[in-house]
Symmetry: C2
Subunit: 347 residues, 2 copies
């Protein structure tokens, strides 16, 4: 192909590329309810339940750094990030497949560690490992996981159901996984300079745990079920709050106002952010990898969720065209842009 016909992938970015590749896909089968474009695809075999399918590819040197991530943690995390996508549809994960490409620098004992983490996640979430593929790699470790779950059709929450005046809710707290990554990167540099130094990481345990061993919020799906709340729209926070709000706005044809003072940030995370000269709101907005759930609910459901320590109402849905804005503590109204981690710009 001649160079004058060459378009660089970085010109599109990850989401642009996915849109370019998948915009014209035809769906042919009666069992396919929804294809590309949400946290999971939706399949239908019976009226009682829909089946949810999601897949992720994790690449060494892009998504993880084996110089500081223990293999067991990596196994656990790689399963959880996939289960999170099923939860983000208001569904419950039941199966995963796991494919691995391994270079021969891995020993059997190392793979056993990785697998132990994966199977621990399966145990904790009641999920079955049902298949996969194992092959060699010319370079790093590649982990490809497909998660399968189910949900009652009327309970499924897609990205497109948010309506004006709905409330915006986020689970847990945000920004911690990003701060954990900063701590790990710093320790890696310290280690390179002085390999015998023993790091004291006691003051960083929460962000480290959030980076190394995130959980999928299946507990929230069960909580919402018991509260009889069905989100109008939902997405998981993998790329940062700002990016996810923009996805919901785009697919629901609405705007959002969210309030800086309402965004949940753990005090330890705020303190460590300051230590790194980072603004903790920026970490929450753009940090990514928190795997919390971001969803919208009807105002009438507010009484059911208020006061729950796992759930923070951070704003409300505005009309289409109003844009996505952060109302700062100072009262300024700042348009949000996605500055989330773009996997395609790292290569």
């Amino acid at each position: 192909m001649s160079d004058d016909m060459r378009t660089e992938l970085s010109a599109l970015g990850e989401f642009g590329l996915i849109k370019h590749l998948t915009d014209h896909i035809l769906l042919r089968n009666a069992t396919t309810v929804k294809g590309v474009g949400d946290d999971a695809a939706i399949l239908k075999y019976t009226e009682a339940h829909h089946v949810l399918v999601s897949t992720d590819l994790l690449v060494e040197g892009v998504h993880f750094d084996l110089s500081y991530v223990p293999l067991k943690h990596l196994g656990y995390k790689s399963v959880c990030v996939n289960l999170s996508d099923i939860c983000a549809m208001n569904g419950k994960p039941e199966q995963i497949t796991v494919s691995l490409a391994l270079s021969n620098r891995f020993s059997l004992e190392a793979i056993d560690e990785l697998y132990a983490g994966m199977l621990l996640a399966c145990e904790n979430y009641g999920v079955d490992l049902i298949g996969g593929d194992t092959t060699s790699s010319k370079s790093g470790l590649i982990i490809s996981i497909t998660a399968i779950g189910k949900a009652e059709p009327h309970k499924i929450a897609t990205r497109s159901g948010a309506r004006e005046n709905d409330l915006v809710v986020v689970t847990g707290d945000l920004g911690a996984a990003f701060i954990g990554l900063q701590v790990l990167e710093r320790e890696k540099d310290v280690f390179k300079a002085a390999p015998t130094a023993q790091p004291d990481l006691n003051d960083y345990q929460y962000p480290l745990q959030r980076q190394l061993k995130p959980e999928a919020r299946l507990d929230i799906i069960e909580l919402l079920e018991s509260l009889e709340v069905i989100p109008t729209a939902m997405i998981d926070v993998s790329d940062g709050l700002a990016s996810e709000l923009l996805h919901l706005a785009d697919q629901s044809f609405v705007g959002f106002d969210v309030y800086e003072e309402k965004i949940p940030v753990d005090p330890q995370v705020a303190r460590v952010a300051a230590e790194f000269n980072l603004d903790h709101t920026t970490c929450a907005l753009n940090g990514g990898e928190d795997y919390e759930l971001l969803f919208t609910i009807k105002q009438k459901d507010y009484d059911k969720i208020k006061g729950n320590p796992n759930l923070s109402v951070i704003g409300h849905v505005t009309p289409d065209g109003a844009g996505v804005h952060l109302i700062t503590r100072a009262g300024d109204r700042i348009p949000l842009q996605a500055q989330g981690w773009d996997a395609l710009k790292e290569s």
Copy 2:
């Protein structure tokens, strides 16, 4: 980890590693009928159909060489090898997910070619592309595909149902994809030596097509349905006839006698094999990548399939413990061993 606890992956091989990792997996969910160990996992949401799930990971430099495989062909093939796994359960594929890891040496136009091949396969087989993941790669191209299909429960053919005196049937012909690979490797060497030489590949079209653009034998699944034949066991021929017979023997607790003179080999393939000083029976037994179907049927079904040019009866099932044997043209009885392509030994 200390070196004295290090076990090399090559000591186990691919199948040994999978067995080691998956032998003790628990299945917890009522929707999981069968997990690891066949061409596809089996899930159940309704009595009418079972859902089949299979996944494959294709790695540049291990499974394909972009110096001679056109991207459109690669896209087509990577879908077909996954659909083949669903067919190998006597099921019909309906959906795929596609995850890609790309380095920035790929242009948008190159990815469009890859995707065009994938979507052509989807069109030809009536399959929906429902999701995936796109990320960057530090090195080569990685393609991870999960295929989902369905089958009526009583029609599903696993690897474990072959019974003594059943007939052994293989579709199409064998060894061609391996011979096609030899031709491509030779042309690559010729090109390196004389980059302006124009190869004349007219005499090699059939093996090249079989290597570059294999098909999944969905037509055979439809044929068997119309003939009202349900295989007692089935597997697809991805690693070579010998390896697949050994899988069926192992999981059905039977032996096999197959007859060299009955193994279908295309005349062009036999001629080119001779040109490479290769025995064409050895190519059929150990070559791999043919993606034909190997299955067993009850003797009473013989009349339904006899004379069909797509189906060759190559032998019969013998008792457990009898072993897997090739009866040569000379009448010798040779025990077969798996010499199929072992992905883990290539790194």
